[in-house]
Structure formats: C-alpha cells, structure tokens
Amino acid sequence: MASTPLPPAQSYRRAAVYDWITTVDHKKIGIMYVVSSFVFFLIGGLLALVIRTELAAPGLQFVSEATYNSIFGLHAINMIFLFVMPMLTGLGNYIVPLQVGAADMAFPRVNALSFWVFITGGLLIESSFLFGGAPVGWTMYAPLSTQAPETGVNLLVLGLIMTGISSILGAINFLVTLFRLRAPGMGLLRMPMFCWTQLVTSVLLLFSIPVVTAGLIMIFIDRNYGGGFFEPSLGGNPILWQHVFWFFGHPEVYILILPAFGIVSEIIPVFSRKPLFGYRAFVIATASIGALGFTVWAHHMFTTGAVYLPFFSFFTFLIAVPTGIKFFNWLATMWGGKLTFDTPMLYACGFIALFLIGGLDGAFLAVVPFDFMVQDTYWVVSHIHYVLVAGSLFAILAALFYWFPKMSGRKLDERLGKAQFWLLFVGTNVTFFPQHMLGLDGMIRRIADYSANAGWTELNFTSSVGAFMIAGAVLMFMWNVFATMRGPADAGDDPWDANTLEWATTSPPPVYNFDHLPPVRSERPLFDLKHRDDGHAPVAAISLSVTEGPVQ
C-alpha cells in the first residue's frame, strides 16, 4: 500500500475549510455558531463603545445624530439576534446531543441549513450599514420603520426574517432531538436542566417567531409596495405593529434567558458537589415561565392607553413566582455544599447576584404608575442590560469556561479567568447602575446628546468608564482563548468531576459521540456511574468513548 504520495499541505488546508463549510456534525456546527456569534458580539460591542463615548460628555463629539440613531438600534439587533440567540443555540447544538446521549441532532442537514441561513441573515443585517443604516431601533416601531427612507431598513427586515427562519428550523431540530433521541432510560424527568431549558426555549421560538415574521413581512410591504397595514391614512393601525412585535418580543426575552438559567443550573450543582435542589420544581418553574411569557406582551405598551392594564400587570408580577423558585433552588443547592469557586462558578454566582437586580427592576416596571413615569428612560436601559449583560452574557461566559475543555480539550487559564470575572463584575455595575439614577432623573433613552446643565454629566461619564472596563474584560477573554489554544490539550475527559453525559466521552468527543452509553437511572448518570460502588469514591478511568478500545 501507500504508493500514493501525500497531497501537498496547501490542498490539505483547503480541504479543512471545505470540511467545515460542508459539515453536518452538530459539534462543528455548534462551534461555528459560537465563533460567528462572538464576532457579531464584537461588532455590537464596538457600537456600544461608540454610544458610550458619545454620551460621556454633553455635546456631539464623534457621531452625527443620524449616525447615532442607526448605531443604538443595530447595537441591540447585533446583541439580541446575532449574539445571544445564536450563541445559546450554538452551545445547545454542541451540548444537547451529548447530554442526552445522542449521536447527533435529529436532522443534521437541517442543522447545517439553520446555521448558514443565520449567517446570511446576519450579513444582510450588517450590510444595512452600507445602505444608509437602519435608524429604527430594535423595536422597529411603525410609522418610523415604514416611512424611514433608508434602504438599510429593508436589509434589516430581510435579515431578521432570515434569522427567524433559522431559529424556527433550529427549534424543530432541538425538539425532535430531545423527544426522540434521548438515551435509553433517560425519561423526560431525567433530562439535564440545560436540555429542559432548551426544550422550553424551542417551544417559545416555534410559537413566537412566526408571528414577528408575519409582522416583518407587513413592514416590508408597507415600505416597498404601498401596503397599508400600519398606515392610518390607508386604514391601518400603527399600534398593531406593537402588538405583533411584543407578542414575539416578550417570549423573546425568555428565549434569551431560559438557556442561561439552564447553564447556571448545570454549573452550580457541579461546583457545590450536590444534586440540584428541587429538580422537578425547577422543571415546572421553567415551563411556567414559558407559558406565562405569552400572557404579558402588552406590559411594554402600558403608555399607549390601548391595553387592559390590570391583566398585563398581574401576569407580569406572576412571572416573578417561578423565577423566585429558581433563585431559591440555586441558593438551596449551594447551601451546605462543598463549594469551589472556579471561574464557571464565579460567573454563575455573579449571575445570581446581578440578575436579581435586573429582575427587581422588572418588577418595578410591572407597577403601572411607575411604568408611566420611567417609560423610555434610562431605567429601562438599565433593566434590560442587567438581565442581558449580567444575565445572559455572564451565563454565556460561565458556559464557555465550563464547556471549553469539552470543546477543545484545554482548560482556560483560571487566574486570567478570575481576574476577568472581577473586572467584568465591577465594570457591569459601574456601567449600568448609574443608569437607574439617570432614568429616575428623566434622561430619555436613544438620545445622542443631553444638556450640560441637566445634571447628568457625572453619571454618564461614570457609565462610559464602566463600558471600557467591560471592553477590557472581553479583550482578556480573547487573549485567554488565544493563549490556551496554543497550549497542550491536557484537560482530560472530565476536568470538573461533573454529573452529565457530555463528560463521559473524550474531549473533544469523536464523531457520533459515544460507542456505548451507561444506563440512565437519574438526572446525573455520570455521577451514578462514578459512585456506583459505595456512593463516595470516584472510580478512576471511566471512559465511554471510542478511544478506549473495543467493547468486550
């Protein structure tokens, strides 16, 4: 054999690129989601820095008002639709099949289609910068969005329709995977909590994205073909867009946070050396949040005067109950546990501390008279950033530190990671806490400038300093990844001594993940396997991967 000469190195590299582009492996698609959404995160982060730099002092220093109008909207679009959503989808793509003991997602080729449709949509959205921008905010309220002359708005609408299609296909894929590909013995109530949150998130996506897609199509027709959906002079109704948008928009915020809850619920038991407290209550709370998420959309529209206030206020308060159950479960899991504060655990604890502030801000907003006072002020900006930065972003970083060894075989540097955590923790509060005061003081969101005698200068400057601290933390994370990837792959299969099946295979896992699976008798199958003899001492060298040799 071996009469054929090896191909030259260059063509091998081309083949590797071709391999990634055409892959249907859930792990590679997951990594592509993670990497590409991180790139969109950097774009959104740069836009945020422009916003904070402009607002650091009164007067217009860097950008015109017209540019600013595009920048704040595209910052939000980037962060919500092109960073948090695909990042959580990507983590789910990588982890969910491993956690349920499947070889791949249910529809691997649809999975690849979802990813490439997402990339196309993302590029369409970014290209709106080249066509006059999209100064319509992320909510795209009519008649602003239907009458803004910029071509960029059309690109934004088309891009969002495409990312929506990608999400629907992804949701179907997750649901079928979770319903049909679970390992033998893994009943629905033995699924890891991250899988449960992905399940509920997928249901939310499946039922909410089509609604906003219909609305986006209407905006497109109003803009380009003389449609009258949201145009009063033609018989339409601009408030109608707000109903359509928020019917999607409120489930959307749970789409952004439920998988984050799942990540935290994976990490806290591992680093507390205890099972998750109240697993079933947690499942019920997750499902309740998903169901209640469809009953509260009009709390974004209190000031329109077009909605029944008591109903939406009551259900908004009601959502605090299952969320409170989750907080109780996390704290009770840690209570009396053997806590170790590795970086993933630090981020999970930071999440619990800061998301609480964001959640309480939200409860304030459910009070109708208070909402009338702070509608469209920096209070709301502060609220959404406490839940999306201190919530989703902290959980995403926790997940990246936690699962990085599984994805790459390498542990990220712990010292750098802890320093980064504290910088980010302080930076987040320095940035967003002063915005509470600005909001109560009447500073309206989405303005490019404010008067020097308004008394907002110091708080705004503080907030801008915090934004650069966050940027520094992001740079530290990128350096950490870069430096770690140059080191040896020596993390081992199960560096955290964890409970779930993804740690039962090699790091990174082989194609098709498992050659054989342990019997699943609880929601912690790997823990059961390691402690099956006496319930205490871990059994050394357990591996269920292909590299261990043939099955007897």
Binding site: G101, A102, A103, D104, A106, F107, I168, A171, I172, N173, L175, V176, F179, R180, L181, R182, A183, P184, L206, F207, S208, I209, P210, V211, T213, A214, G215, I217, M218, I221, D222, Y225, G226, G227, G228, F229, E231, L234, G235, G236, N237, L240, H243, V244, F247, Y512, F514, D515, H516, L517, P518, P519, L529, I542, L544, E548, G549, P550, V551, Q552
Partner: protein
C-alpha cells in the same frame, strides 16, 4: 481494556433512522408536525391582524370592494372563490385516498391519488392567479388599495405560496412513488406531505370564510 459494566452499545444506523427505542413517532413526521405548528402561528398572526383592523375600522369592508362578496358585481363575484374552494377541499380527499392506499401497500393506487391531487392543486393555483389578474385589471384592486387590499393579497398570497410548496412536495413524492420507493412500512414522506396538504387546505377554508363570506 474492559468496558464499563452494564453499558449499552449504541447503534448509530437505527438511531439516525428512528431515534432511540423503536416505539413512537417517526422523527421526520414529528419534524413536519412541529413545522406545521409554527406555520399555524404564522397564519394566526395574519388572521389576528385582519380581525384587529376589521374591529377598529369605521366601515368594513371598505366601500368599493363589493366585487369579492355575496353581492358581487364583479365579473365572477363569489363564483370563482366557491369553485376554487371546492377544488382544494376535494384535493384533500384525494390526498387522503393516496395515503390510505400506500398504508395498505397499493403503490399504483397511491400514484393515481397523488397525480389527481397534484392536478387539482395546480388548477387551484392557476385559478387563484386568474382571480388576481381579474382583480388587478378589471377591478383595479391591488396590494396598495388601502389596508383591505394589503390584507387580501398578503393572506391569500401567502396561502398560495404554501399551496405551491405543497405542490412541489406532492410532485417529489409522486416522482419517488413512480420509482417504487414506498411501501406499506416505509412511506414517511407521503405521510408528511399529506399532513402538510391537509393543513394548507384547512387554512384555505378559514380564509374563504373570513374573506369571502364573513368579510
């Protein structure tokens, strides 16, 4: 090297086909049903917008749109809409007939049923486009004729796009059926397309009642 005790060997081939365990729904069929669930929400949004606009309008339907009603003064009035409704509803029956045939293993019967369904679907599409042509040229009623025109064309148009998708699906399973790829046990594609076609049909019944009858 000893394998861990009482571990289960995985079978990727059968797992990719039908999931873990042999009981329960085929994964492709489940995917199609979930897809239909999301499509229901899409049309629910369109209907929601329609009834919101209808409820808040001073006059509904707007004056000068009698040509698509019982009191039709247009070229065909309601006649054309009733005709295409009969055609599409019958095609649901022929689709069910084709599916029942292959469930019993009758390939020829299935092919005949699929061919008739395909024909009815194409006739529906042609007549719908003919109605559009009449409305635009004869009644000067376009997508920019106020919110009523926008709603009419978006709702019927997106339904038409779904009919087109169904026609493509039927054509694919018919082509596969003519090559003998289906049997009583293996015909999940036929099942999936047949669910989708029923869904498209039910949406049309609601559209017909909403736009032409209830107004």
């Amino acid at each position: 090297m000893t394998a861990p005790v009482d571990s289960l060997t995985t079978d990727h081939g059968s797992e990719n086909d039908s999931g873990h365990g042999s009981k329960g729904m085929d994964i492709a069929l489940m995917g199609m049903l979930l897809f239909i669930a999301s499509e229901i929400m899409f049309f629910a949004a369109l209907f929601g917008v329609y009834f919101n606009v209808r409820a808040t309008a001073a006059v509904w339907p707007p004056e000068g749109t009698e040509f698509i009603s019982w009191q039709g003064s247009g070229l065909f009035g309601l006649g054309l809409a009733v005709l295409i409704t009969i055609i599409l509803v019958s095609s649901s029956f022929t689709m069910q007939w084709a599916t029942d045939k292959i469930r019993k293993g009758d390939r020829t019967g299935m092919n005949r049923g699929l061919a008739v369904t395909l024909g009815l679907g194409i006739v529906f599409m042609c007549l719908m486009l003919f109605e559009y042509l009449l409305l635009v040229t004869h009644d000067d009623f376009g997508i920019n004729s106020g919110v009523y025109g926008s709603l009419f064309y978006v709702m019927t148009g997106f339904h038409g796009a779904h009919v087109l998708g169904g026609i493509i699906g039927i054509a694919v399973v018919l082509a596969r059926g003519m090559r003998g790829q289906f049997s009583a046990e293996h015909h999940v594609a036929v099942e999936a397309v047949h669910y989708y076609w029923h869904f498209v049909d039910v949406v049309w019944v609601f559209l017909f009642l909403t736009i032409y009858v209830l107004r």
